[in-house]
């Protein structure tokens, strides 16, 4: 069964964007970029909320810039090649290699999980809330950045219930970013 992975760049205080949506605290050096590129190759589908899709659409055109470094162009090509599903009730249309889904997220994801293929990557805090409430997330990845941002968009929404996790991996990058990967500990769930 294909997994849904919710993976984000996050500050030590848990924000995925600053108070004005700023991302200028991201440390995306070549080491991390190449690592992320390798992770993305194992992804078969991107699952986005509207806002995250709009942010990520940047990658639709970046490889046309000849001054971009090789690892950046590589990421753009990987991103473009992966089919996307955008969950939104307000968007009217989406770009290349993307499909718009308005409703029935649980049903849609259950169907996708049954299909053969690579894992699915979920992006965006709003959509993650829906997925967490529906119990659809199979893996969490936090690229914890060495910075306290103070305010902004939290990676994790307010939840009514506790979710116990099992640590799969903690990996340190030379920039000071630490990747923490977890699975829900379902046997302990109440």
């Amino acid at each position: 069964m294909r997994k849904v992975i919710y993976s984000m760049f996050v500050s030590l205080d848990g924000f995925i964007a600053g108070p004005n949506k700023e991302l200028d605290w991201h440390i995306i050096d070549e080491e991390l970029h190449r690592f992320v590129n390798d992770q993305e190759r194992a992804i078969g589908t991107y699952l986005y909320g509207r806002r995250m899709y709009e942010v990520m659409s940047y990658w639709q055109t970046v490889d046309t810039n000849p001054s971009s470094p090789a690892h950046v162009i590589e990421y753009a090509r990987i991103w473009q090649s992966i089919p996307k599903i955008v969950f939104s009730k307000t968007l009217k249309q989406v770009g290349p290699n993307a499909k718009l889904v308005e409703d029935n997220i649980a049903e849609e994801i259950a169907k996708l999980k049954e299909q053969p293929g690579k894992d699915m990557a979920l992006g965006g805090a709003g959509i993650a809330l829906t997925f967490m409430r529906l119990g659809l997330i199979d893996e969490y990845g936090l690229y914890v950045h060495p910075v306290i941002v103070g305010d902004g968009t939290p990676m994790f929404p307010s939840l009514d219930d506790k979710i116990n996790l099992r640590l799969m991996e903690a990996r340190t990058f030379s920039s000071g970013v630490v990747l923490l990967r977890y699975q829900p500990d379902r046997k302990e769930a109440k």
Binding site: L12, G150, L167
Partner: protein, 186 residues
């Protein structure tokens, strides 16, 4: 000059306590207890805010603490302690000094004194003040493998960006990850 470090347990969603001061999610085992003994053994004095002080002062001197955790209890009860509070009338836990004012001055003075490191455990409000006064030399954040959904964020009162430098990361068998950071002064 001795260093001041802050040690905190947090959930993966960044809370140091749940609603109603809930810390039942603390993920502790023998390996953690061993770490706590080693860490506390390097401490010269512990600094508290009022709320954390009251919680700890009502636990460590009890027979329950003595039977569950005798080594740490003994360290906590005998180490010099300072509680910073304008509202507390007296501090009766053994070897505790109550300081009402001039926090920065008092801490700078303590830093100049010889001895082991100064430690802040919990005490999120005090920690925020100390960070704003650039008095914290190291943050040790123990990330527990759990999402609790709501509570009090550890860095709640920090509104300005603080750049840090990762010193090291340690993984515990229980799934806890301990992250060591220093302020990035460049």
């Amino acid at each position: 000059m001795r260093n001041l470090f802050a040690f905190n347990m947090v959930t993966l969603d960044g809370f140091f306590e749940g609603p109603n001061h809930d810390i039942s999610w603390h993920n502790v085992d023998d390996e953690f207890n061993q770490f706590a003994i080693e860490q506390t053994s390097t401490v010269g004095a512990i600094l508290f805010g009022r709320a954390t002080y009251e919680g700890m002062a009502s636990y460590w001197p009890t027979p329950a603490a003595q039977s569950d955790d005798p080594i740490v209890a003994n360290l906590m009860n005998t180490l010099p302690k300072v509680v910073f509070s304008r509202t507390l009338q007296k501090a009766e836990w053994n070897n505790t000094r109550l300081i009402k004012d001039n926090v920065a001055e008092e801490i700078l003075k303590m830093k100049q004194e010889p001895g082991n490191d100064l430690a802040v455990f919990g005490s999120a409000n005090l920690l925020s003040s100390l960070m704003q006064m650039n008095l914290v030399d190291e943050h040790r954040v123990l990330v527990n493998p759990v999402l609790i959904g709501s509570g009090t964020p550890l860095f709640r009162s920090i509104k300005q960006r603080v750049n840090l430098k990762l010193v090291k990361a340690r993984t515990f068998k229980s799934g806890n990850v301990l992250l060591y950071y220093q302020p990035d002064k460049k």
